[in-house]
């Protein structure tokens, strides 16, 4: 059975794309055939983080509009076997994604992939709702600050009401908290919320804590997801988070 994971947060700039890329690599390294989809229409960040921007010819929207087939649009990752990227479109037309279109593509991907990772755009509107609609699991990426926690809380509300599983009354989406850009120093100074502050409001199982790290910027400049930088603190934290996902 294919599992669809949405990486979501509400707030922008918290680390969704960074997480989607590293998580997808982590899953593929464990031998699962994995595809990671960029739902952030118009921005297109994932291909940069994955270092495949020069190989983008067709994208998600082209496939929805039948201008290309899936095999033409999927990009094979150069680092890991069994990993593919479906890039977002540069179009400014935010309505280019439709529920039927997304469903069609996910159904087709389900025939060959074990994991589908959906990198959600920011916000709680249409784009974010489409990214989460068909999910089986959700990784809620949260920074230790009040506004991010509030947005994650809203996203959790949507996950439990505006998704296919919720509407069909099936077993709810499994929710995982990933606390990112965590700085122990700033928590100690009181500039940031602590893990227990965040837990008190969100109260969902913790998948991991990713420290604020120079390695993340280095990795995105080099087009290699940070999880591949095995010596770095953030890379190790992502590897731990993937491991915990299977526990």
């Amino acid at each position: 059975m294919t599992k669809t994971i949405v990486v979501t947060s509400g707030k922008g700039g918290v680390g969704k794309t960074t997480t989607s890329a590293s998580f997808a690599v982590g899953l593929a390294c464990r031998g699962f055939k994995t595809v990671v989809i960029d739902f952030d229409i118009g921005l297109r960040n994932l291909d940069l983080i994955m270092g495949c921007e020069r190989r983008v010819v067709y994208d998600f929207v082209n496939v929805i509009r039948n201008e290309a087939n899936l095999n033409q649009a999927l990009i094979r990752d150069k680092h890991v076997k069994d990993l593919f990227i479906l890039p977002a479109s540069q179009t400014r037309d935010k309505d280019a994604l439709t529920l039927e279109g997304v469903e069609k593509i996910l159904n087709e991907l389900s025939k060959t992939f074990d994991y589908i990772v959906c990198d959600s755009p920011a916000g709680i509107e249409r784009g974010a709702q489409l990214a989460m609609y068909f999910a089986d699991s959700a990784i809620v990426v949260t920074n230790p600050e009040v506004s991010s926690v509030r947005d994650s809380d809203r996203i959790l509300g949507l996950l439990s009401s505006k998704t296919k599983r919720a509407e069909e009354g099936r077993e709810p989406i499994s929710e995982h908290l990933l606390l990112t850009r965590y700085s122990a120093k700033r928590v100690a100074r009181g500039d940031m919320l602590s893990l227990s502050d965040v837990n008190e409001i969100l109260a969902i199982p913790l998948l991991g804590i990713i420290p604020e790290s120079q390695a993340v910027l280095r990795a995105s400049n080099g087009g290699e997801p940070v999880i591949m930088d095995e010596m770095s603190d953030a890379g190790q934290a992502y590897a731990d988070a993937v491991a915990r996902f299977f526990r």
């Binding site: 529920l99 039927e100 709680i124 509107e125 249409r126 709702q129 489409l130 609609y133 509030r150 947005d151 809380d153 809203r154 959790l156 509300g157 949507l158 439990s160 009401s161 505006k162 008190e200 409001i201 109260a203």
Partner: protein, 235 residues
């Protein structure tokens, strides 16, 4: 919630949705535009977000029926304080007519003459209880119509509970809870960990600032109305 559902059928141009939008009632006690202006501004300064963007109904029930109101100015005062005046209720025929001329709607008066028969009907209606076992997250609204609301999980900041009857919360109450929203002054709120942004009984409310002396550590409390004042008491 303002989030639109993803509709499979794109055909129809609209959907009618029943909705329960909270609004504030500005009950005028005496008519003095300057004093009203000062008092509203002061209230908004104390709680800038509480009424931001909220609809306002101007209630004339306690006003002298002979007062001639300048609705244009009244609307201006409300609007410049970030709220949206939509309607009046009660008042004399002349006051109502003038309001309509000035573009305000007319709502039926709040106080109903409750007869014995109605009371019995109310008792029957309030028997329905709404049970919520999942966390109520920021941005969610839950309304228990005609009855009580029981929430066995936490209520996040930014979430809202409404009930025609009582509200019971067994997780932490961090959002807003409004009991007796149709005017039931006997309604109460019971909660185990009071950390709310606002609690209200039949339109009378306390904000977080008003409740500072109470902390979550006080444990189980009940919130009720006594002489038109909201009281909090440990139980």
């Amino acid at each position: 919630m303002t989030v639109s559902t993803l509709s499979i059928v794109e055909q129809p141009c609209f959907q009618f949705k029943a909705s329960f939008i909270p609004c504030a009632v500005l009950q005028l006690l005496h008519y003095d535009l300057d004093a009203i202006h000062d008092q509203i501004s002061a209230t908004i300064r104390c709680a800038p977000n509480l009424f931001k963007g909220s609809f306002v109904i101007i209630d004339l029930e306690k006003l002298n029926p002979a007062d001639i109101l300048n609705y244009a100015k009244l609307k201006h005062i409300v609007a410049t304080n970030g709220m949206v005046p939509i309607a009046i209720r009660a008042g004399s025929a002349e006051q109502q007519q003038a309001a309509v001329m000035d573009g305000l709607s007319l709502l039926p008066a709040a106080k109903l003459n409750i007869t014995e028969l109605d009371k019995q009907k109310n008792v029957q209606q309030t028997r329905q209880t709404k049970l919520v076992t999942h966390p109520v997250r920021s941005g969610m609204q839950i309304y228990a119509k005609d009855g009580d609301l029981i929430v066995t999980a936490a209520v996040s900041p930014g979430a809202e509970l409404f009930s025609d009857g009582c509200i019971h919360v067994y997780g932490a109450l961090r959002g807003r809870a409004l009991a007796g929203v149709q005017g039931n002054m006997q309604a109460r709120i019971f909660c185990r960990s009071l950390e709310a942004e606002l609690v209200s009984i039949s339109g009378y409310y306390l904000t977080k600032e008003d409740m500072q002396t109470f902390t979550a550590k006080d444990g189980m409390v009940q919130i009720f109305l006594e002489n038109e004042k909201v009281r909090i008491e440990a139980i």
